[in-house]
């Protein structure tokens, strides 16, 4: 592989967010990964950013969801479906 086929630190860094979000083309992703294999500083930065994203995602997933939320929605939909709940029948799915 020639030097022209490789990303510099700057070219790699520019793609950091898109790489973490899996939004790069397969070619770009390969070039980023090749750079990360040989550049310890960029690899350390990318690992750090990935770790932040994973940590934030983990914490946000811990929000408790009301246990009866789906049941309340079902009640609402049943009322909506009943002639009394929606006398005109407007917008009611058939």
């Amino acid at each position: 592989m020639s030097a022209l086929d490789r990303y510099t630190c700057e070219e790699t860094f520019r793609r950091l967010d898109d790489y973490l979000d899996r939004e790069l083309s397969p070619d770009e992703q390969r070039l980023v990964e090749e750079h990360l294999r040989v550049c310890g500083i960029c690899a350390s930065e990318f690992r750090f950013e990935q770790s932040v994203l994973d940590g934030v995602r983990d914490k946000l997933s811990r929000l408790a969801v009301p246990a009866d939320l789906m049941a309340r929605i079902q009640e609402l939909l049943t009322t909506e479906s009943s002639p009394r709940g929606n006398p005109s029948g407007e917008n009611r799915p058939e």
């Binding site: 860094f13 950091l16 967010d17 898109d18 979000d21 899996r22 939004e23 930065e45 690992r47 750090f48 950013e49 770790s51 932040v52 994203l53 940590g55 934030v56 995602r57 914490k59 946000l60 997933s61 811990r62 929000l63 969801v65 009301p66 939320l69 789906m70 309340r72 929605i73 079902q74 609402l76 939909l77 049943t78 909506e80 479906s81 917008n91 009611r92 799915p93 058939e94």
Partner: protein, 199 residues
């Protein structure tokens, strides 16, 4: 056309697997539990009324989140008309990486990001996310909670993919700054700095 009951049960079967994560997204949009629950319920009702327009086999989750996000924006038209002016000068790229390095925390662990985040409870991380301007918060909630792609977020939030990319990338920097400030305020940084001499 299926009978009405079959239609309701069919709708509920699609909604049930997405309702928990939709609530989490709604919480980050509204920042209040009661408002989040109300938003999900109202979105479910609107989606049910529009269920005939949903094409079977397409992405129900994205379709429902679009309704939920639209409803949220309808309720907050004022802020929607006034996009946030975001100053990123104080939140440069790699903000948390740089701050943790300056504080000497990279000497303490192979994974200094986790070192800090493990000490921030979930409520504080949610508080940090809550500090983002609304459009950024919407994109971040859909990204972190639902793990949607840029394209799916664009569909749900009703904006171009380039706008989603920009909001996510900028929002990430603002979020890192907010996390660091909370870690400083709660004495977490000081506590970790104190460990340097002992390890």
């Amino acid at each position: 056309m299926p009978p009405r009951d079959a239609s309701q049960s069919g709708f509920e079967a699609l909604l049930a697997p997405v309702v928990a994560s939709a609530y989490r997204v709604a919480y980050h949009l509204t920042r209040h539990r009661d408002d989040a629950e109300d938003l999900v319920q109202e979105a479910a009702l609107q989606a049910f009324r529009a269920f005939a327009s949903f094409r079977p086999g397409t992405n129900f989750r994205a379709w429902f989140l679009r309704i939920l996000t639209n409803l949220h924006y309808q309720r907050h038209r004022k802020s929607r008309r006034e996009p946030a002016v975001v100053d990123l000068e104080d939140a440069p790229e790699l903000y948390l990486y740089t701050q943790t390095a300056k504080a000497g925390l990279h000497q303490l662990a192979d994974d200094p990001a986790t070192l800090v985040l493990d000490r921030l409870d979930a409520g504080l991380v949610m508080e940090a996310l809550g500090q983002l301007p609304e459009d950024y918060r919407v994109a971040a909630a859909l990204y972190f909670v639902e793990e949607l792609s840029y394209e799916e977020i664009a569909e749900a939030a009703g904006c171009p993919i380039g706008t989603v990319r920009s909001r996510l990338h900028r929002g990430r920097r603002l979020l890192q700054k907010a996390l660091w400030e909370l870690a400083e305020q709660r004495g977490i940084v000081r506590e970790l700095e104190g460990r340097k001499g002992t390890e």
